[in-house]
Amino acid sequence: MEFTGSDNYYLDPELGAIVNMALVMEKPLLLTGEAGTGKTQLAFEISHSFGMPIEVLRCKSTIKGEEACYVQDTVLRLNDARFGTAGTGREVNNFFDYVIWGPIGRAFRAKQRVVLLLDEIDKTESDVQDNLLDVLEDCQFTLREVNQVVQAEIRPFIVLTSNAKRELSDPFLRRCYCHPIAFPDPGQMREIVKLHFPDLEKGLLDAALAIFYDLRQRGYEKPPATSELLNWLGALQHARATPERLNIPFVGTLLKRTEDILAYRAGGKRPVH
């Protein structure tokens, strides 16, 4: 079993080696890096390439942690207690008739090895992270209502991503293998673009990449990332336009903030740098 990337995903060999090390060591893999470096995509590629199902928890700042494991549908149970369960097949006294499993719950109860993706874990509160820590470490959690432990038979392969909006705690980091994904260099970017636009003219690509990396250097508030580049190339190809440095066609696909576009129109750098 070796992870080597797939047809429409460019895998940096270094990253591939790291994924394999984490798989062997059964350690959660925490990927950090700016948007557009393919952190989330990687988990889906691992799932795809090994044929392992994937469970995804998209973290929000309001999440408590427990609902990632399970929730009890209390309103339904209250309703059943008041109005009866005739014809529903549920039994009010049976707790398990009212459990809705969250992604972590489903991953632990799975009969085969799954990929468990906790996306943008940094959005959660630090005490939520601490709660999740033990759950992920031991691969088990307790159903509080019936005091019953759910234990994973097969450890899922856990992938966490973070945009570093908030810093993760030391104990949390200690439990994981951490890897910051660097922004693709021009060579790698060429490979990525090739996967999406196999028949792009070389001259066009060279010019576009030069402009793209130049824009990223300028210290805009939101520098263009991979997805912006791909959208832009799509627009260029569609309109058969050639990119020019001083008058970039479809600049709105690359720069998203008004201030950035204005600064670009004003001829260059933002005064920040």
Binding site: A17, T74, N79, E167
Partner: protein, 401 residues
């Protein structure tokens, strides 16, 4: 043993290696995860480095231990090179070997010296592409040469991957090192640790005990009760010294800090002052729209107070009543007294100083820096400084220093 020595070297470089990490690391080696030096580099980094600030230190330690190359902690092109031990040692050595004239430091242009230094490093690195100190350990290598690991997992081979030396040579993480001065990229990383937890959300959480309670009282009819959710909300007051020319070089950095702070906090108000705070701060950079300090003191004590200034001025401006050089200011109380009032009201406050900590004792203004430093914890604008500042703002105990 050769590898254990490396773990101790990591500790010397500020990377805490726990026993668990070390055991896991050896377990991985037994599974054949590091059949070659490049894999070892990756696996050791994965096992011991948790934060991007430690990456550069790790790479330097690795280069030193396995290739015998002693890298300075600055990137090529950075003039801070001249202050590093590695540069001084190299200079001494080069002069002794007559590769450089005796007073090279004064006679050669600095760019030339820098270039010569990095060329030497480059040569050292290249010399190791064939035989390295690591290879020189002969048959004692602890790594299985078979790439087949337990469980039928084959570790990625050499193909296409850049060698450890090449990766180290790029110094990709040097700007993230804790001693690095702030730039766009690493700033948000530091500010990311700002956080707070107070109840502030809408009442949208079902309060189950209360619901059952109320439903029972209601004769069994369901009566749903809701409570407030916990939400992040943090309020920051930023006070910026924009007077005179002394802050000019830091304006760009200041603005950067602004921009980044805006993403991180729910409410940020910015006020300006000239050199230090007297009876009022100002809502605009031209200091025409004053806000009395008494008004500022009415803000709740949870407010985080961040000063940004070089704290450099004539001692009278800080210590004497009527010390302001600005005639409009209400300065009947000495500025230091005003600062003390602010510090008393807002315990979570910090003074950020763009002057590097190492020069605080020497620069013009060292006296006022020291006096203000007694009132507010002062940190410099390095990554490490910002991190400690944020810890102070969070009210946590501050690590280090």
């Amino acid at each position: 043993m050769f590898l254990t020595d490396f773990l101790y070297l990591l500790r010397e470089h500020g990377i805490a290696v726990s026993l668990t990490d070390a055991l896991d690391f050896y377990r991985g080696l037994e599974k054949g995860l590091a059949p070659d030096l490049d894999s070892l580099f990756l696996f050791a980094r994965l096992s011991f480095v948790r934060r991007v600030e430690q990456m550069d230190a790790f790479e330097r330690a690795f280069a030193f231990h396995f290739f015998g190359v002693d890298l300075p902690r600055v990137a090529p092109g950075d003039p801070a090179l001249f202050e590093t031990r590695q540069f001084r040692e190299w200079l001494k050595e080069a002069i002794r070997n007559r590769e450089l004239p005796p007073h090279a430091l004064w006679t050669l242009p600095p760019e030339e010296l820098m270039r010569r230094f990095w060329e030497t490093v480059q040569k050292q690195m290249e010399a190791h592409h064939g035989g390295s100190r690591f290879v020189g350990t002969g048959g004692n290598s602890p790594f299985g040469h078979s790439g087949n690991a337990a469980g039928g997992v084959r570790v990625h081979g050499q193909s296409g991957r850049r060698s450890a030396l090449k990766v180290i040579g790029e110094r990709r993480y040097v700007e993230y090192a804790a001693e690095a001065t702030l730039q766009g990229g690493n700033l948000s990383q530091a500010l990311a640790s700002l956080r707070n937890l107070v109840p502030a959300g809408p009442r949208d959480q079902l309060d189950l005990p209360e619901t059952i309670d109320r439903s029972a009282k209601n004769g069994g009819e369901i009566d749903l009760a809701f409570r407030r959710d916990l939400l992040d909300r943090i309020e920051v007051v930023l006070l910026v010294d924009n007077g005179g020319s002394s802050m000019l070089p830091y304006v760009a950095l200041t603005r950067l800090l602004f921009g980044k702070l805006r993403d991180r906090v729910k409410r940020l108000s910015t006020y300006f002052f000239h050199n230090t705070v007297y009876g009022a701060v100002y809502r605009d950079p031209w200091r025409s729209d004053p806000l009395a300090v008494d008004e500022l003191l009415k803000r709740p004590p949870e407010v985080r107070l961040v000063f940004l200034g070089d704290a450099t001025m004539a001692p009278d401006e800080l210590l004497s009543p009527h010390g302001s050089i600005d005639l409009r200011a209400d300065d009947s109380r000495p500025s230091l007294a005003q600062l003390r009032r602010l510090a008393l009201r807002f315990p979570r406050a910090v003074w950020l100083n763009p002057i590097s900590r190492d020069s605080w004792r020497e620069v013009h203004g060292s006296l006022t820096i020291a006096r203000i430093g007694e009132v507010f914890p002062m940190e410099d604008l390095t990554l490490g400084g910002i991190k400690r500042a944020v810890e102070r703002l969070n009210g946590a105990r501050v690590r280090g220093r």
